[in-house]
């Protein structure tokens, strides 16, 4: 009986792990990652974050271990899209686990892959403290206070959480606002 229960528990555990892996693996669409890779440096250059640039444009990609390959894929895409950087600034990206967020201190943008609620909220607290622009793969994180994501509907558009942007005292270029959709909250 005990053996049977152990087998069932083991089976459940394996299926949870597999499900999570499959879920994450399927969630990160390659085309969407490509759009994010083009979007990230431009959001820095077209916002008040550009004033924080010293030499390089620094972007921190926050991810759980399970999303490491997606994070590296995103970094590759950015490097492929901007091989010579942008406006004489090289783009420096690092993939960092949520647990080591302090490594992102001098960056201009935090890109957040999915994680648990605590990690997301800690990252947002950190970004607000350091005045770092936040962008997430999942638009649902806008509700938590992430500033930018992608709206994926009939067309794909940058999705801007104006409330969070204002709170973080970041200013965006007007053209950027014109091509984007404004996030008005979960109810809207």
């Amino acid at each position: 009986m005990k053996f049977k229960q152990s087998i069932i528990r083991l089976f459940l555990l394996i299926s949870i792990i597999l499900n999570t892996t499959i879920l994450y693996a399927l969630t990160y669409d390659d085309d969407i990652l490509s759009i994010f890779s083009k979007l990230m440096p431009r959001f820095i250059m077209m916002s008040s974050q550009k004033e924080r640039i010293k030499d390089n444009i620094d972007i921190c990609v926050l991810n759980d271990d399970i999303d490491k390959s997606a994070a590296l894929s995103l970094i590759d895409k950015v490097n492929n899209n901007y091989p010579n950087g942008i406006k004489n600034h090289h783009i420096h990206l690092v993939s960092t686990p949520y647990s080591e967020i302090t490594k992102c201190e001098n960056t201009q943008l935090l890109f957040m892959f999915n994680s648990n609620e605590k990690n997301i909220n800690d990252a947002l607290l950190f970004s607000n403290k350091q005045n770092i622009l936040t962008m997430s793969y999942d638009e649902a994180l806008l509700e938590n206070g992430v500033e930018i994501s992608l709206f994926i509907g009939r067309k794909v558009l940058p999705y801007i959480n104006m409330k969070a942007i204002t709170k973080n005292k970041v200013e965006l270029d007007n053209i950027l606002l014109r091509v984007s959709k404004i996030y008005l909250g979960k109810e809207n």
Binding site: R42, M45, R154, V156, L157, V179
Partner: protein, 202 residues
């Protein structure tokens, strides 16, 4: 051949001169108006291109092709005088095309209503696309038609006024003629009375 009398010569000269001056004035005004309208249309189209170019550039740079299509569809819808709108990428491949439904004529690039501009990505400093625009000349034709109508109306009014003026002159000439007849038809023999009293002899 019958020679024109002095009266006819004066009247015809005045009428022709007045007609010439008024028609020339109206024509000049009309030409200026047309030129200004063309300039205005050109500025308007250039402003439109300059307004939409940064958005097209950003959308293309971000790979947001659907958003670009929707934006350009909206622009074409809001500007019914756009007959053709085409965006081609740096390899000259058409990535967006719009042509007004009722416009089946072949549009000539040499035409005054054809506009084109390269779209550049200001961050990467590279050419990303080319925008081509063909604007309807219906409004210009309308202005030309109105100007021609006004010119004809003014010409007609001036002509009528001059006819009245000719009658008025003819009436004035009658008294002049009578005076001439009293002196045997020789105006040069008229002796005008002098009011000056002279008490000396030459």
């Amino acid at each position: 051949m019958k020679k024109f009398g002095l009266e006819a010569k004066v009247v015809i000269s005045i009428i022709l001169l007045a007609l010439f001056i008024s028609v020339l004035g109206v024509y000049e005004m009309s030409v200026n108006k047309n030129r200004q309208f063309l300039e205005l249309e050109k500025s308007r189209t250039t402003l439109l291109i300059n307004t939409i170019s940064p958005i097209i550039s950003l959308n293309l740079s971000l790979g947001l092709l659907d958003a670009n299509k929707e934006y350009l569809d909206e622009i074409a819808k809001q500007n019914p005088d756009i007959l053709m709108l085409k965006i081609s990428d740096k390899e000259a491949v058409t990535i967006y095309g719009y042509q007004a439904e009722n416009e089946k004529n072949i549009l000539k690039k040499s035409d005054e209503n054809y506009f084109s501009q390269d779209i550049t990505d200001s961050f990467m400093n590279e050419h990303v696309a080319k925008i081509e625009l063909y604007i309807s000349d219906e409004r210009y034709k309308e202005v030309l038609k109105n100007n021609t109508k006004i010119t004809i109306e003014i010409f007609f009014i001036v002509f009528i006024v001059l006819i009245f003026f000719a009658f008025f002159l003819k009436k004035e000439f009658l008294s002049f003629k009578e005076l001439s007849n009293q002196n045997g038809g020789a105006l040069s023999t008229i002796t005008l009375p002098l009011d000056v009293e002279k008490d000396h002899e030459i």
